[in-house]
Symmetry: C2
Subunit: 369 residues, 2 copies
């Protein structure tokens, strides 16, 4: 009851309330706020809670949450994703939206498990058919690799991501700018129900809260912080996705962007992020996995745990220049690899010693093993 009261008494995020709770516990904090009498040093709590301190909706909020199968997860709960949210508490980020006090969660997924291997797929609400298609490919592929796909439940890229994961039987989480009992947008009512059935619909805002512009910005920081990395699939010149992307960078999380046709307005933001060195170009599931798991830990990353590991640039090019079936001459290899004959010969010799290629009747082919 105290947590539910505290979760509504100030517009989240409110660092002052969190500091008070950390100092004297939620029950005493709720009581102090109600009585308008807080310990020395916590004076900032009073103006932040002035408007709502005497409207206690705790019971109603918990009932409303229960009615849609949701629960309140707090900073004191075992499943609290403290590690993911840690960066939000750091000095330079806290000023623009610190860690949340609590999160309303609708769905069976545990927050700490949800964030363990997670990627945010975000982008334009007005996604192009290309953007929606690529979002679906990435979302289903990442779900297949065991990742939680996190997004914002909106039209466009968000919706395409959630839908593809739901269809593929994976886990997806929608972080909302409104209460977990408000289906926003309304047309996503059924989709949000599906997400909540196996994953999680998450919000920092109490039940009944309506989506408002400033809440999207506040919500964006949660999308970025709950995810191991963020990928912008499509974004126009002034997309809101740029804000989530900026949060990912501020929090030190990997940021990727998917390229598209340079003739497409919905790829302009992605291209700019890549060209400006803010985002890494990602083009498929493997490159996203490599982005968020730079130390490996998967067998999807490019070249990782492959027999071609550790090859030099020339050797890789020569290896790539040999077709999967059949043999080719050294001249054909040198040409395809863009190497001088001598360099190709050196690389072939090393690859042969390494057992990767073999010479059969004067033609080079990939080793049958």
């Amino acid at each position: 009851m105290a947590w539910a009261y505290l979760a509504r008494v100030a517009e989240p995020p409110c660092a002052a309330v969190i500091a008070l709770v950390d100092a004297i516990g939620p029950v005493d904090a709720a009581s102090a706020i109600r009585r308008r009498s807080v310990p020395d040093g916590f004076g900032a709590v009073l103006p932040a809670t002035a408007a709502r301190h005497d409207a206690d909706c705790a019971t109603a909020d918990l009932d409303a949450a229960a009615a849609v199968g949701a629960r309140l997860v707090t900073r004191s709960d075992a499943e609290w994703p403290a590690w993911s949210l840690l960066a939000l508490s750091q000095a330079d980020t806290a000023a623009r939206g610190g860690a949340p006090l609590a999160l309303w969660v609708r769905g069976p997924a545990r927050l700490d498990e949800l964030v363990t291997d997670s990627v945010a797929l975000i982008g334009s609400r007005a996604a192009s058919p290309y953007g929606a298609h690529v979002t679906g490919l990435l979302a289903a592929g990442l779900a297949g690799e065991g990742f939680t796909v996190i997004s914002g439940g909106a039209f466009g890229v968000d919706g395409a991501a959630h839908k593809a994961v739901v269809r593929s039987g994976g886990v997806t989480a929608a972080v909302m700018a409104c209460g977990i009992d408000r289906d926003y947008p309304a047309a996503h009512s059924a989709l949000l129900g599906e997400i909540a059935r196996t994953g999680a619909v998450i919000s920092e805002y109490p039940p009944g809260t309506t989506a408002a512009r400033h809440r999207f910005l506040t919500r964006n920081r949660l999308v970025a912080s709950l995810s191991g990395g963020t990928v912008v699939v499509e974004a126009g010149r002034r997309s809101g996705a740029a804000n989530t992307a900026a949060w990912a960078r501020k929090l030190g999380r990997p940021l990727g962007a998917v390229p598209g046709p340079v003739t497409s307005a919905t790829s302009v933001g992605c291209h700019r992020m890549i060209a400006d060195g803010l985002a890494v170009l990602v083009s498929d599931v493997a490159s996203v996995v490599a982005l968020v798991r730079p130390d490996g830990g998967g067998d999807v990353g490019r070249g990782r745990t492959k027999p071609t590991d550790g090859l030099s640039e020339d050797e890789l090019r020569v290896h790539d220049a040999i077709p999967a079936r059949g043999g080719v001459t050294i001249e054909e290899i040198a040409f395809a690899a863009g190497l001088e004959i001598g360099a190709a010969r050196t690389a072939l010799a090393r690859l042969e010693v390494g057992g990767l290629v073999e010479n059969v009747a004067g033609q080079w082919r990939l080793a049958s093993g």
Copy 2:
């Protein structure tokens, strides 16, 4: 006559012959090679010229060139693009293809003027419709900015680049892997004629030389070195364009790559170059100009010589968030810019002082001036 003899007597590029010419001049060099008697220290010339030293085709070559309106431009000529080719003579590149001794040039363009503002547009022979379209946009746009567009005269991206420049009345140069009198590919015969009418068809190989695989690799270094920068518009996983791109990097020239749909096989090479940090993502004429003229010198580069020069990131975002017509509230601006209200207010104040925005009846708009 001596230069024409020397241009054929060894398969180009031949550093030994160039060294001899530099030491004793072309007439004595030709004579020494014919007599098989070279000065001490130039012994490498003999094996390189063994096969062709007694077949003097100089007259025939000059006649064949003249027949197609071509001339032989040598290292001693005023129009020799010595500065562009300098990097080819440096130790680490010379081993894989040094500077040329001479170039056969068909067309009115002077080589030194041709290379002054030049960009190579290269890519897959099997360009997609998207690739051909974007190539045309870039080529015509660069020609309109006064750039020479250099390519290899091949099908696909090369052809689309040349064609767009010819149509737009600009100057384009095709660097060939065969003699300037061989129309290769044959289907580009008319196009090569058009290129030669206003620009240049260029080759290091004597008239009559047929295209051969190793000559494409050798030719690629000339495309890269004659250009102020190279842009790969489309390239598959094993495109020959990767070789030209590698030359551009080796020569210290800017390298750009155009992104495309991640679902397109002909963009895989471009995406890989960008993701690996080998190429800069370029998406339009302005970004190509910015690539090859990093110090400015044009008014096309992004933001260059614009009133928004020198703005901070926040100020730019706020400026971008204000529509071209009509006013918006600070809340709308903060949302579109992905900024807190306070940060947006600070940026607006600075923009107002700078005369870029104005506040009319509580709404912000771009300054009418």
